[in-house]
Structures are given as structure tokens and as C-alpha cells.
Symmetry: D3
């Protein structure tokens, strides 16, 4: 199985963290392609940075998805994921959706541990839009200068552990998510040190992606999740234009095939 | 890895369907233990039947979980799952939670295809209680005598396919769940015949269980998901009393250990 | 009028508290049958204990409901109530539903005063599943060893009163529920000492049950609340198997009678 | 026990229907005072008519509540009820809240049967504002000229019965509410003719009011449900000004008494 | 353009504040008619006071709306607004709806700054009924004697500013509403002193009203927002009876005209 | 006042429609700058097309916002609006938010009239994410080939009118939104032909934008709506990098100034 793992941000250090955790989590024999955004910011805390990351993820996915069985957008907040899901012929997974859906199999209410105060407003929105606000016990976040973004987990491990404990003892968390690609792998270090289950977004995403590939649920070729219908476009990167054309072609083929079978039923 | 798969109902025919799909879905080398409820009904359509199934599942899990890495309750509606999750030392998975969380990674709105009209009220409640009512496009169900419960999928395949198509074209489904253990395996037969992704509860549950085991998120030993605190009990089946005692002991050990570490920090 | 009042837990001391408050609350001339669970735990704090209590309540109701006009499951969290409501031919009432629906006639937002920290997660879920989470001002709970469960109200009356006051002055409660059978009767002792209305679950349940009996709303013989349709069962306690058979028979009789009346209209 | 029952509309014929059902529903020995609005409309279908009815109900309650143990506002939609609850020293009950809270003890999802198409938008809002929209199966309503408003139940009994049946068989209703004072008493005539429980608003309100009186939950003297704090007023009907003054005096007395007891604890 | 601005309370001092801010906010050339309630209270903190204000607003609107292009009810909580919207032939705007809908164009989560502790329960309900509870960051309110109600903004400006700052820094507010007519104009004084956008209800209402007038969206003459259907009424102030008659006449004319056009299409 | 109006799609014909309606709606003396996306699709029906439109809107806004008082993204679904709101120093308005907030001032429940079947899934999501799903009466849409996108309103006016009428008479709409830039101006042509208020997104957006500018609510310089904190970026278009730098500089200046004032209070 081949997975394309996209860091929608520009930090190659974070890409290395993602890759390390993805390799630890993947089934033996999985081929991983890692890509780092050629444009954007170091990490995402806000809606505007998510907009940039979404477009970068889309461009990378358009260019590089061929030959892969699934695509992972390795940032919390899932920039571009719902959009890419429409147009790519393979499953597309983001860290928030996969971490949250995994966490909610382990406990009723979840707390999210995050790397900055500012990030909380956006995380709350993302979780609300997924319909899970009332299962969110709290978001707790670092409140200090981060230093190198790919060292946050190491540099602040003690404070992060303390935030986890407060989430359990003060907020009612039954399970914890260590959120964001910069914390990839941290949950392994904390193993056995927390009294509730802890999940890591990258690990959840890799496993869910592999599970989806093996299940072969089939592509969306009709309805609100199918590729965008054909319409004029202009000025797009070649790969993105091709993605739109290919998607529309798949849908049309499916519709024609559907028509034929309808006809043959008469 | 060893999985305990519990059919909380009495139909050994349905257990055979569950086993077949579980074997097709499990990682190579997985050991499966299948158990059929020693008491109860043939299949669950109502809240009262779910109450019976929940207790049967709890009893089987108490007796047989030892030596397994995860427990699956193989009925839609997840009877007993949230309760068992507190008290067992390993992950516990039900078909609805796992099918729904998988489906929602594949599309925005889901329809559930069910085996009887009566079952719809209960399914709707279960999905509502999971917080996903507004992502439910519809529940569509058979409206005819079922015949043998372990042959429903075969006997009514054409009608079920037609229900799927109506869910896509009339209700806005972006993804479909074939619900209930009696339909286990049907999604494989429909592969390529539907224009949206389709998921099967047994397959989702097996894969999610294995993913959870591999992730080692750790047990709940504090907070609202930990084992029930120790208190007097009486008249319970031995295995269930032992389960309560073991759970309370784990929690107390964790608390003591927590106390010690607190102490050592002084 | 005859009421069956079931303590789904094993504490006969708590049954005595329930009985005392039920007698104070019942209309003159009401005959009360009290039953204590033959198996289970002393009191319910968790989902797993609620699963056990639900099955015990179902078994007692199946054995003893004959000759009664309504059944009360006298534990907060209403274990088994929704399930029994389907299958019994008389109204079935639980403490949470009745206390909450009474409280919400007295004020807009309610606080629940509970006997243990652990119980809060489960109570919150129960209230959420009843659709009233945004009318919950808070849950406040004792945080100390309880001692004898049937003496909690007496032993901790001052702390419970202080929790009530904090709910009013800090949390915005307009009305209070003293939750759980172990606190049955406490609200009478606090009368006149709190600045907002206070309700007691046992008293609410007895009154609502009697009101329902007098209203004669009729049984559910069709739709999602009717008895479970007939299907094979095995291994159940005799009383429970009889309950299923009787329920299915009632529904079929109603359907046949409906068919006849349809015919006669032609 | 003495109950004040207010028809917030001007139809004395409807008041007679309300009185008849209230007498059938009340405990033996209950004294009922019936009042008809001196100004307003014949019945309420819209928000504006509800505004008028709310003020009429408030005025009647202010004038006549003295000597009564509870007040019932006998119109669906509960005009003025939440407001009067703050300021009157006794329980205040409306038809919608009491019918809905009773119905939801009998089944999971409820349909409301109403007398006009136009009334549906307003009823839906009222039920939504009570937080129960997802337990509403449907509102079904007459779609024809009503004739005399106090004969609607008699004149259209067959159509109303047919609407009830469609609610059960097409909409998933597990319980029915015959909504609005003009249908008071109709549920008795339909007894045994419908396959699900049916409730009547007037009957529910009378019983809930009596239950609340007997429970003696105590008045609201602090928090968001207490009488309005004292402030200048002008131009109000004498009874309403007195109501405000009395309410503020009660609250202040309670606060002073609270202060004293605080002092005495030192 | 002519606007009728109604203070539903009796304080002429507050009317003066409203008028001053309305004049500052209105387009050049706007004619403003200000009216103060002839009966009621000084300001609204509770549901009962809102009931009185709603009726006063309705009476003033009935008497004086002729010749105006829109009506503003200048109190937070929007007493009478939804009702008047049905029956008046011009747009009707309240402070809460307009402030909230403006604020939510400026930021994701809003805090409301209010003049008294007691007012918070009612404000919360109003915002909840508008469906925006999860976008409410907090309500923060003065907790001291107010003094003259038309001087609250001046007398307590520093405390109000401090409440604003806490809403931003502790509650996550992205935008602030200074709530209630007594604070009309305060936001201008705070300009530049707060790190998030701040809106004033009177200003929002005047601007939204003018925007609606210019847009000419047309009146509601069918459906759930049309004037109440004709029915008997009695005892109403002349202006209110006329309002009902005029509304019903407009609807009937529209229906007849609709019928004719239907006919002419044949 | 100067407004920047961005068509996030490539159709200059649609830009002309937007411009015409914007000129009709703007205050006299308003200067409008219209921009058409240099890359993207003809119109947006799906999440992926919205992702592209969001990035195009962001790029145009970054390049051209200088010298403007507000920015309008003239497409339904508001691509990029929440993101741009963080980073631009002036108000940013989208068609959906402004049309919806205007419509909800005119009636309780709204129907959206749309140009294609496919568009409905996405529109529903957008409205849900704004928290207004339960005020959505329906989405009704054309179901035919559109022809030229800038002629949809003209070519299909009769069908669109019929959809409007069905929304009122079958779905309970109290107000209508003609959704999407391609229908800009159509509501003027339908004036007087529909029995409920109708609003146009472009007109609403222009008026709301002007209202916001005149209100001077102040920028967001702290909290979850402030510009993204400074962090490394790379590869961005110059204008977008400058936007990030400018935003961070504004926030830092505000923080320093805040610090100073804090200091001076000591």
C-alpha cells in the first residue's frame, strides 16, 4: 500500500516528525511519500493560515496523488480535506477527523491538548463543525513562546503532561488528543504516565487511512460527495485542472453506465 | 492479536455471518473467538431487545475477555458497549460507532440501510445519542417478512440495492451503511454497483479494534471512563463480580501509584 | 391504584428510603409494592452499573408488574425505563425523566445535586440524551467518602445544602433536583431553607405515575413504542419470555382489529 | 386545593370546554376558578395573537390569583407562562409544557395534532424553544374552515382521527398530543381508537399543577427565576403594579433573612 | 425615510439616549419618531417585564406606525418584535437580533456586556432562542446599584470597560455587544480603547432598518409570517383591532389576486 | 466610501451581474472596485471549487484591499471570508452570511433558491456551520442544464419563480434567498410577484458592508479574531506575505500599547 502524506505547512522539521510517527504506525510494507508545502507558514493557528494550507495541500495532492492508495493531510484542522475528498479517487484523511473519531471510540468526552493559546478558537470551530462540541471536555494549550516548532513536544513535555492531567482531573476528559503535527509521536513518550487513553493524530490518520483502503468502500460518483461537475475553468495549475477533468470524467462514465443499465431494465 | 467477537443475540446463523466477514476483514494472523448469546432474541429491533442483548454481551465479555486484546459487540446499536468500555481493560467496539465513524470519513452525510421498519426508531435514537443526527441523510428499511434472519442479505439483495439507490438519489446520502449483523458481508457483494462508498459494520469494527490495539492508547484509570469505584455487590454471575473487583483494583493501584509519585515530587 | 416501585440496586436500606418518600407522596389509598434487586450493586455511579441495574429492573418488572397500574424504576439515570416502556402494558417512570420534567415546569435552568464526583459524567449523559443539556445549569456533587449509602442524606446534609446554595448563586440554577434514590426525602428536610424550588425524584415519579394512570392515555400498539415484534427467543427467565409473548400478542390483536375496522369501513 | 384557570382568549365557549375537561381531570374537592380574557381574539394561531393573550393572561392572573394554589394558562403555546412564573408566588402551568412533558414520559417521539395550517409555524417554534424539536415527529393540522371554535373537536372528529393515524403510520409518532384548548376533552372520545397513547393539554396541565402544589417545591426568591427586582413603574393596571411590588418585597425579605442567617453563622 | 423608534419602557431619559444614538446613526435626511411607553417599567431585566414591554410596544406600534417605513423596538431582548413583524406592513427590528447579526459578521464568538446580574438569565434565553448559544462567549454584567438608569453608561464606564477586557482575555470574545438601550452611545466613547470590534444595539438597529427599507424585500402575505387570519376579537384598543383588520385584509387581497392570476393562467 | 468586490470565480459575465446589482444597492457616492478571479472555475457548486475560490479571493484581497473601506466576497458559501476577516484591517462580508442575517430579520424560517441540484449539499453545510439549520425551511434548486452562467436568472426565471412558490406553500418558508452571484438582481424582477419577502445576496452584502463601515466597530487586535501571530512563512505571493506581516505588526503594536497603558495604571 502506498500513502501520500502531505504536510500543508513549510516546516521540513515537522515533516520529519510526521514521517517518523507515520512509519512507526504504518503496516509493514507500506510505502510512504512525504511532501512539504512549497509555500505557506510554519504551522497553522488561524483560519487564514488554514486557508493557505488548504490550497497548498490541494496543489500537492493534485500533483502527487497518482499511484497512491490514500492521501493524508497531516495538520490538525484538516485543511482542504473535505474538498479533496470530493475530487480525489482515493480516501483522504485529516488529523482532526481521525483523532476525534478514534478518541470517541475510547471515551465519552475528549480534551484536546494544543500548542498555543491562539489555536484554541480555531480548534473549537473545527470540532463544532464536526458536530462534536458537546463531547469536547476542554481544549488546553501552552501559553509560552514555542521555540523551534519541530521541538515543541520535547521542549515542553512537562508542561504538556501537566495540561493533560488538568484536563482529566478538572475538565472531565475521558480521553486525550495530543493535537497537531508538531506533537506527532509525543503520545508514545507519555505512555503509561496518564490515567486515560491518549491518541496521536498522525498515528490515527495513518491507521484509519489503511483501514479505509483495505475496506474498499468504493468511490463517490453521484450525490453531494462526487467530483465537481464539469464547468469552464482557467488559470489553474495544470495538475489541478487535470484533477477536475479526471473527476468529471469519472462521474460521467458512471452516469452513462448507470443510464445504460437503466435502459437495459426496460 | 486476539479478538473476542460477541453476537449479543441467539442466532448461530448470524454468528456465522459475523465470523465470515470478521475473518475476511482481520489482519493475517488474527485469532478470533466468536461467542453467541446463551439467552436473548434472534435479532434486535427495539430498546427492550437491546437491554437484553446488552446484558448478554456483558456476561459473555466478563466470562471470556481474558486473553483477548479487544472485544467487539457485533450488533448495530452497540448494546452494552459504553458500559463494557468502562470495566474491561481492553478496547471495546460496537458496530454502529465504528460504522458511523468510518462512514463519516468518507462523506458528509450518511444513510443507513436496515432490515425492518420497526428498527428505524431505535437506530435513529442511537445515531442521535452519538451526536450525528444532522449528518444522517435517512434510514431506509425493508418492509416485508424477513424469513430466516441469517439469509436476509441474500434473500432481499435486490430490494436492499434499490433502497441504497434511493438513499443516494432521493435523500442526499454521500455514503451508505449496511446496518446490522444479519447484513454482514453484503457490502462486498454490492461492490461496484453503487455510486457512493458503502461500509459494513462488522468489517469496520474489526479494523477499528485492531487499529486501537496497535495504537496502545492506554487504559482509563481515572475520570468518567474508569472502572466503577468499589462498592458492595451481590448476586452477580461470578465473572461479572470478578470484573468489578478487577476494575476497582486497577483504579486503586493507579491512584496509589499517582499518590506516590505526587509524594515523591515533594 | 397499585404501583410497583423497583429499586434496581441491592440496598434494602435505600429501598426503605424510597418507600418512605413514596408513601408520603402517593395519593391516599395507593397500594405500593416495593422490590429490591436480587442482584447488582449498592448504588449506580457508572454506565456499567446502570447496565446491571437495567437488567435487574427488567427482570423484577417482568415478574411482578401484573396487577399494578404503573411501574417506577427508582434510580436516577432511569435504568431500563425506555426499554420497559415498550413492553409493559402500563406506564413506566424513572426518577430522572420525572424529576427533570417537573423541575423544568418550575424554572428555566436546573442544577442537579449528586452524591459522588464519579456520578457526574453519567448524569450529564442522561440529561443530554433527554435533550436538556442547555437547560442544565450545573451538576454539583459530594466529594468525600459516603459511609452507609442509606444515610448519605442525613450524614452530609450540611454539605449538600451548601452545594445547593452554590448552584443557585454561582451557576444560575433556577430550580434544584436532589438526585438519586439515596437522597429520597431530603428535600422535605430542606424545605424553606433554599431560595429556589427543590424537587425530589421519588416524589416526582410517584406523582407523575399516578397522573399518567388517571389520564388513561392508552397503550402503544403500533409504531416505534409498541412491544417488540414476535421473533425467536431462548434462555430468558420465564417472566421475561412471557412479557415478550404477551406484548407481541397485544400488538397483533390490535393490528387484526385495525384490519377489521379498515374492512368494515369499505 | 384551588386552581385559577385562565383562558387567555375571548371565547366563552372554549372556556366551557376547558372547564369541563378541567373538572373531569381535577382531584375530588378541587375548587376551580375559570376566567375568560376580557380582551383579545377567539383563539391563537400566531405570535401576535400570543402576545395579546400573554398580556391578557397576565392581567387576569394579577387580579385573581390571590387565594389560589396554582395558575393554569389554558392555551397551547403557553402565552405569558414563563413571565408569570417569575412573579406569582404559586406554580404556573401552560398547556404545551405540560402536554409535552407528559407525552415524553409515554414515548420517544411525539406528534401534535392542531386545528389550522397557520398554527403550525408557531407551534413548531414553541416546541423548539422548549428544546424538544428532535423529539417532534410531526405537526399535522386541519386544512379547512373551522366553523365555531368551540365545536371544532366535534365537527371535525373524523378528520382529526385520520390525522392522528397518519402521524403514527407515516411520521413515526409514538405518542400524540391533541393541541389547543378548543380540542379539550377530545382525547376521551378517541380513547381506544388509536394505537398509541394520546394526551390532552388541559388534563395534563390540571394534573401537573396539582402535583406541583402537593410537592411544595418552594418559591423562587433568588436567581434568574425570582420576581423582578424593584424599579420604577408607571401606568400599569393596579393589580399588575401590586404584583411587582409584592414580588420584590418577597425577594427582599428572603435576602434580608439570608443575610441574617449568614450573620448568625459567624 | 421615516422610522418609528419605540422605547418599550417608561424612562424618558433612556428615550433621550436612544434618540441621540439613533440620530447619530441614521442616514442624513431620516425622520425619526420617538415614543416612550405610557405604561411599564423603567428597564427590562426579566421575562415578566419583557411581557409588559412587548404589549406596550405593540400598542405604540399600532397607534403610530402609519407613515413610517420601519419600526424599531429599542430594547434588548426584542420584546414584541417577532409578533409585530407578522402584523405590521413594514420591517420591524429589535436591538438583540440586529446587534447579534451585526456582531456575527465581525467575529466568530461574541460576548454581551450587560447592566445587571439579573438580566443575564433572560439575555441567555433570548440568544439561545435565536439559535446562537454556541457563538456566545459570555455574558458579563455590572454587579452594583445602577443609580439613574439613563446614566448607567457614564457612571460605570470604567467597570464596563473592565468587563469588556475580561470578555476578550478570559472568555474568548472576538466581538462585543454593549447591550441594552441604557448603554446606547457608549460604544462611541470606548472607540479605540478595546482590542476587538464593539457594536451598539441602537446603531445596529437603525442601520439594519434602513438597509431593509431600501432593499424592498416585500411584505409577508402568505405562510407562517403573514398577518394573523381574520377571527373574532373584542376589547382591544382601537388601533390594535385596526391593525388586525388591516393585516387580514392585505392577506385576503393577496390571496384573491393570487387566485385571479391562477385563473388567468388557464 | 470605497468597496472592493471580489468575484472569486472566473466568469466576467457574472462579475458584470454583481457589479450591476452592487451599483443599484450602494449608497450614492460609493466607489466600487470589481475584481474577477484570475484562476478558478466559472461558479462554485462544491467544497473543492470553494477551496479554489477561497484562495483566489484571498489573493485578490491581499493585492487590492489597500484604499478600500470594506471587502465583499461575492459568492454564496462565503469562500475565504472567515479567513480574510482575521487578516484584513477592514470588514469582510460574504453573500451567505449577509443574506442569511438579513433574511432572518424578516421572517423565522428561510428557503434558499439555488441554481443546481449539486449545490444543495454544500449550501446546507454552510448554513449549518452558521448555526441556522433549524431555521432553514428548504433548499430548492434548478434541475436542468444551466446554459450561460451569467444568463441563468433570465433564462430560468419562470422555473425559479415556481421554486419560490413551492418553498412558501410546501416548505413553510417565511422569507426567501435567491442564492448565488449568478442570480444577482433577480429579486428586483420578482418584486411584487411573491407573497413573502425576498432578498438578494449581493444587495445584502453591499448594504451590510456599508453599515459596518459607518459603525466603525474597530479592528480585532486580540483574541481569536486577530491577525495570525508572526511566524516563518515562505513561497507566498508578495501581497499575501505582506498581509501577514502587516497584520502581525498591527497586533504587536496594539499589545505594546496595551502594555504601556497597563504600566501607566500602576
Amino acid at each position: 500500500m502506498r500513502l501520500l502524506v502531505i504536510n500543508p505547512n513549510i516546516s521540513t522539521g515537522v515533516t520529519a516528525l510526521i514521517e517518523a510517527e507515520a512509519r512507526r504506525s504504518a503496516e509493514p510494507g507500506t510505502a510512504l511519500t512525504l511532501r512539504t508545502a512549497p509555500f505557506g507558514v510554519a504551522y497553522i493557528e488561524t483560519r487564514f493560515e488554514a486557508l493557505i494550507g488548504a490550497y497548498a495541500a490541494a496543489q500537492l495532492a493534485a500533483e502527487d496523488h497518482a499511484g497512491h492508495d490514500a492521501v493524508i493531510v497531516a495538520a490538525f484542522g484538516d485543511p482542504g480535506v473535505a474538498a479533496l475528498r470530493e475530487v480525489l479517487p482515493v480516501p483522504v484523511i485529516g488529523l482532526t477527523e481521525s483523532a476525534l473519531s478514534t478518541a470517541l471510540l475510547l471515551g465519552r468526552r475528549v480534551s484536546v491538548i494544543a500548542i498555543s493559546q491562539r489555536i484554541q478558537a480555531w480548534y473549537r470551530e473545527v470540532i463544532r463543525d464536526l458536530g462534536q462540541l458537546d463531547r469536547l471536555a476542554s481544549i488546553r494549550a501552552l501559553d509560552q513562546a514555542l521555540g523551534r516548532i519541530d521541538r515543541v513536544g520535547d521542549a515542553h513535555a512537562d508542561v504538556l503532561l501537566a495540561l493533560c492531567e488538568r484536563a482529566v482531573h478538572e475538565d472531565g476528559a475521558e480521553v486525550l488528543i495530543l493535537a497537531g503535527a508538531p506533537l506527532a509521536g509525543l503520545s508514545r513518550q507519555l505512555e503509561g504516565r496518564l490515567p486515560v487513553p491518549v491518541v496521536d493524530g498522525v498515528s490515527c490518520a495513518v491507521r484509519q487511512a489503511q483501514s479505509l483502503v483495505r475496506q474498499r468502500p468504493g468511490p463517490a460518483l453521484a450525490g453531494g460527495g462526487a467530483p465537481p461537475p464539469l464547468k469552464p475553468n482557467a488559470g489553474l495549475p495544470d495538475a489541478m485542472a487535470r484533477l477536475l477533468a479526471d473527476g468529471a470524467a469519472r462521474t460521467q462514465a458512471a452516469t452513462r453506465s448507470g443510464d445504460r443499465s437503466d435502459t437495459s431494465e426496460q
